[in-house]
C-alpha cells in the first residue's frame, strides 16, 4: 500500500469537522493527525509546544469561515500565516473547504492547492486526495511514532498516547477521553475518533468507545451488560444490540476461551 497523506483538519463546526475526519480516514488515502476547532489550536499542532514535538502534516484542510475569530474569513488568514512563516516542519499544502468559491482568487494567490466544496461527499474527498497525491506523492518515511490523541484541559492542549486511553465518552454533544479516572475534552465525535483509531476501539454503546485492550471483564447485572475497564473501578454500559458484537470482538482478540459449537 502506498504512503498515506498526513492531514490536519481546521473546521469550527462540530458536525462538519467530524464528517471530514470520517471521510478522510474512510478514503484510505489519508490519516488525520490533528483535527482542530480554531486557528490557535491548529498553529499549536503544527509548531509543537514545549512538551511535545510538532505534528508532521502534508496537507491542511482549512475552513474559510472560522467562528470565534474577529475576521469572517479567518481561515484564509491562517493559511497566510502558515505559508509565510516556517511554522510547519514539513512542506505543507492547503485545501480550502467552503460552501462558495468567493475566495478563489485570493486563495489562488496564496497558493492553495485545491478546493473542497460543501456539502462534502466521499467521492469529492477521494478525488481531491488523488489529485494531491498525483501532484506530489508523500515520501515513504520511517515508521511513525505511536498515534496520539489530542485533548483539551480547559484552554491547554493535552497529548495522550493511544495506549493510556481507557475510554471515550459522548454526552450532550460533547466528547471526553478518560485516562484512568481523569477526563479531558475532545473536539471530535465518537464516530470520527473510531474511524481514526481503527478496529482496536469498539463502540460498545451509543455514548461509549472503548479500547479492547483496556477491558478486564464483561459483567451481567439484571439483564444489563457492563464492561469493567483497566484498573477495575470504571464501568461502562454495553448497548443491548451490541452485546454480541462486543463479545465477538473480545473473543477474537483473546486466547484461552473457545466458543463452543451450538
Amino acid at each position: 500500500m502506498s504512503e498515506q497523506l498526513r492531514a490536519l483538519v481546521l473546521e469550527d463546526e462540530w458536525a462538519a469537522r467530524n464528517y471530514l475526519v470520517e471521510l478522510l480516514e474512510g478514503s484510505g488515502l489519508a490519516r488525520v493527525v490533528a483535527a482542530c476547532a480554531d486557528s490557535e489550536q491548529a498553529l499549536d499542532a503544527l509548531s509543537g509546544t514545549a512538551r511535545r514535538a510538532a505534528f508532521a502534516v502534508d496537507v491542511a484542510f482549512v475552513d474559510v469561515q472560522l467562528a470565534g475569530e474577529p475576521e469572517v474569513d479567518a481561515g484564509v488568514g491562517w493559511i497566510r500565516t502558515v505559508s509565510s512563516s516556517a511554522i510547519s516542519t514539513t512542506p505543507i499544502r492547503f485545501v480550502l473547504t467552503t460552501a462558495s468559491r468567493e475566495h478563489a482568487l485570493e486563495a489562488y494567490e496564496l497558493g492553495v492547492s485545491d478546493y473542497l466544496v460543501k456539502p462534502f461527499t466521499a467521492e469529492r474527498v477521494m478525488a481531491c486526495l488523488r489529485r494531491l497525491i498525483q501532484a506530489a506523492p508523500p515520501l515513504p518515511r520511517a515508521p511513525e511514532a505511536p498515534r496520539r490523541v489530542v485533548a483539551r484541559a480547559g484552554k491547554n492542549l493535552v497529548f495522550l498516547s493511544v495506549e493510556e486511553v481507557s475510554a471515550f465518552e459522548a454526552a450532550e454533544g460533547l466528547s471526553y477521553v478518560y485516562v484512568g479516572k481523569t477526563r479531558y475534552d475532545v473536539d471530535l465525535s465518537l464516530a470520527a475518533i473510531a474511524s481514526s483509531l481503527g478496529p482496536d476501539f469498539v463502540r460498545v454503546h451509543r455514548n461509549w468507545l472503548v479500547p479492547l485492550a483496556a477491558v478486564r471483564s464483561l459483567e451481567r447485572d439484571n439483564g444489563d451488560n457492563r464492561l469493567v475497564l483497566a484498573d477495575g473501578d470504571m464501568r461502562v454500559p454495553v448497548a443491548r444490540d451490541r452485546v454480541t458484537i462486543v463479545r465477538d470482538a473480545l473473543m477474537a482478540s483473546s486466547v484461552g476461551l473457545r466458543k463452543l459449537p451450538g
Partner: protein
C-alpha cells in the same frame, strides 16, 4: 450608549428642485407684470408716476403673498400634512393674504392719494376690496398650484415610483437571499451530513427545520406582509439551525410580548438583523455569545430589538453586513414615513432597533 441613525442614501437632485421653484415663483410675476404694463406705459396709457407706484405696490404685495405661502407650506411639510390638507391650508392662506394686501392697498390709496394715484379701473369702496380679495385669491391659488404644488407633487410621485421599483427588486433579492442564502443552506446540509452518523435524531430535526424554511421560500405569496408572530416563528427555526451548528457559541433569547404578536410587518424584514448579529456579532467573539430578540408595543409603536454581545459595531466605515442594514432601512421607510432603524453600540454589545408605527400599517 452612542446611538446613530443611518444616514439616508443621497439621491440625484431632481430638475424640479425646491430652490429653483422658489426662484421661478418670485421672478415670473416680475416679467408677467412688466411686459403688458410697459406696453401700456409706452403707448401713453398711464403716467410714469402711476406706473412706478403700481409696479412697486403690485410686486411688493406679491412678494409678501408668496413668502407667506412658502412659510405656511414649510410648516405644513414639517407637520407631515397630506396633500389635500396642504392644498386646503394653502387656499385659506391665499384668501387671507389677498384680503390683507387689498386692504393695505385700499388704505394706502385713501390715506395718501397724492403719493399713490387711484386706479381708474378700481372701485374705491371697502366691499369692492373684499370682493376682489376673494377673486384674487383664486388667481393666486392657481398660480401657486401651477408654480409650486404641481411640480412638487410630480416630483414626489416620481420619487415614490423610483422607490417602489427599487424596493420591489430588493424585496425579491431579500426573499431569495433570506430563505435560500446559498452559504447558509450548503453549510447546513454539510452539518446534517456530518450528524447522520453521530446524532441521527438531531440530523432529522435539522432536515425538518431546513424544510420549513424552504417551504416559505417556495410559497408564492404576493403579500409582502405577515404578522410578527409568523416572523418570530420563522426566525426561531433559522436561529435553531445556527444554534445547532455552533454549539455553545451561539445562543438565542426571545422576549416577544403577546400584545405585539398580531402586528403586521414586512415579511422577513428582521432576518438580516438576526443574520448580522450571528455572523458579525457573536461568532466573531472567542467565546461566542447571546442574541436577544425582543418585541414590544410602546404606545402606538411596535419596537423590535435585535441585540448581540459580540464585538460591537465599529465606528466610521460600516462593517460588513451593512448592505443588509440599508435594505432593511429602505423597506422600513416604505412601510411608513415614521418607521426608523437605529443602531446603538457600546464596546461589545450592538443593539439594532426597528420601530414600526402601528397606525401607518400598509394594508
Amino acid at each position: 450608549m452612542e446611538a446613530t441613525t443611518l444616514a439616508r442614501t443621497p439621491r440625484p437632485r431632481s430638475f424640479l428642485d425646491t430652490r429653483r421653484l422658489v426662484l421661478f415663483g418670485y421672478l415670473s410675476p416680475f416679467f408677467l407684470y412688466l411686459a403688458p404694463m410697459s406696453a401700456r406705459f409706452a403707448f401713453g396709457g398711464v403716467t410714469l408716476e402711476y406706473f412706478t407706484s403700481d409696479f412697486v405696490l403690485t410686486l411688493g404685495s406679491f412678494a409678501f403673498m408668496f413668502t407667506c405661502l412658502l412659510r405656511v407650506h414649510h410648516w405644513s411639510v414639517r407637520r407631515r400634512h397630506s396633500m389635500v390638507r396642504k392644498t386646503a391650508i394653502a387656499y385659506v392662506t391665499c384668501i387671507l393674504v389677498c384680503a390683507a394686501t387689498s386692504l393695505a392697498r385700499y388704505l394706502l390709496r385713501t390715506s395718501f392719494p397724492a403719493l399713490i394715484p387711484p386706479d381708474p379701473h378700481e372701485g374705491q369702496t371697502l366691499s369692492f376690496v373684499v370682493a376682489t380679495a376673494f377673486s384674487d385669491s383664486l388667481l393666486l391659488m392657481a398660480y401657486w398650484g401651477a408654480i409650486f404644488l404641481f411640480p412638487l407633487t410630480l416630483r414626489r410621485a416620481q420619487k415614490q415610483l423610483r422607490q417602489v421599483v427599487v424596493a420591489r427588486r430588493e424585496a425579491e433579492i431579500l426573499r431569495l437571499r433570506a430563505h435560500l442564502e446559498p452559504h447558509f443552506v450548503l453549510n447546513t446540509l454539510n452539518a446534517i451530513a456530518g450528524l447522520v452518523v453521530d446524532d441521527p435524531v438531531e440530523a432529522r430535526r435539522m432536515i425538518g427545520l431546513l424544510g420549513d424554511l424552504f417551504r416559505d421560500a417556495t410559497s408564492d405569496r404576493a403579500d409582502d406582509m405577515h404578522s410578527l408572530s409568523d416572523e418570530v416563528a420563522w426566525l426561531e427555526r433559522y436561529a435553531a439551525i445556527h444554534e445547532s451548528r455552533h454549539r455553545r457559541m451561539v445562543r438565542f433569547e426571545w422576549e416577544v410580548d403577546d400584545a405585539a404578536g398580531a402586528t403586521r410587518i414586512p415579511r422577513l424584514v428582521l432576518q438580516p438583523l438576526v443574520e448580522n448579529a450571528v455572523l458579525h456579532g457573536v461568532l466573531r467573539r472567542r467565546q461566542g455569545g447571546t442574541v436577544k430578540v425582543r418585541a414590544r408595543i410602546e404606545g402606538r409603536v411596535l419596537v423590535c430589538d435585535v441585540e448581540d454581545d459580540g464585538i460591537g459595531f465599529p465606528p466610521g466605515p460600516r462593517r460588513a453586513g451593512s448592505q443588509g442594514l440599508r435594505m432593511v432601512e429602505r423597506r422600513l421607510s416604505l412601510f411608513s414615513r415614521n418607521a426608523t432603524l437605529t443602531i446603538a453600540s457600546e464596546d461589545g454589545a450592538t443593539c439594532v432597533s426597528a420601530r414600526f408605527p402601528i397606525d401607518d400599517v400598509r394594508r
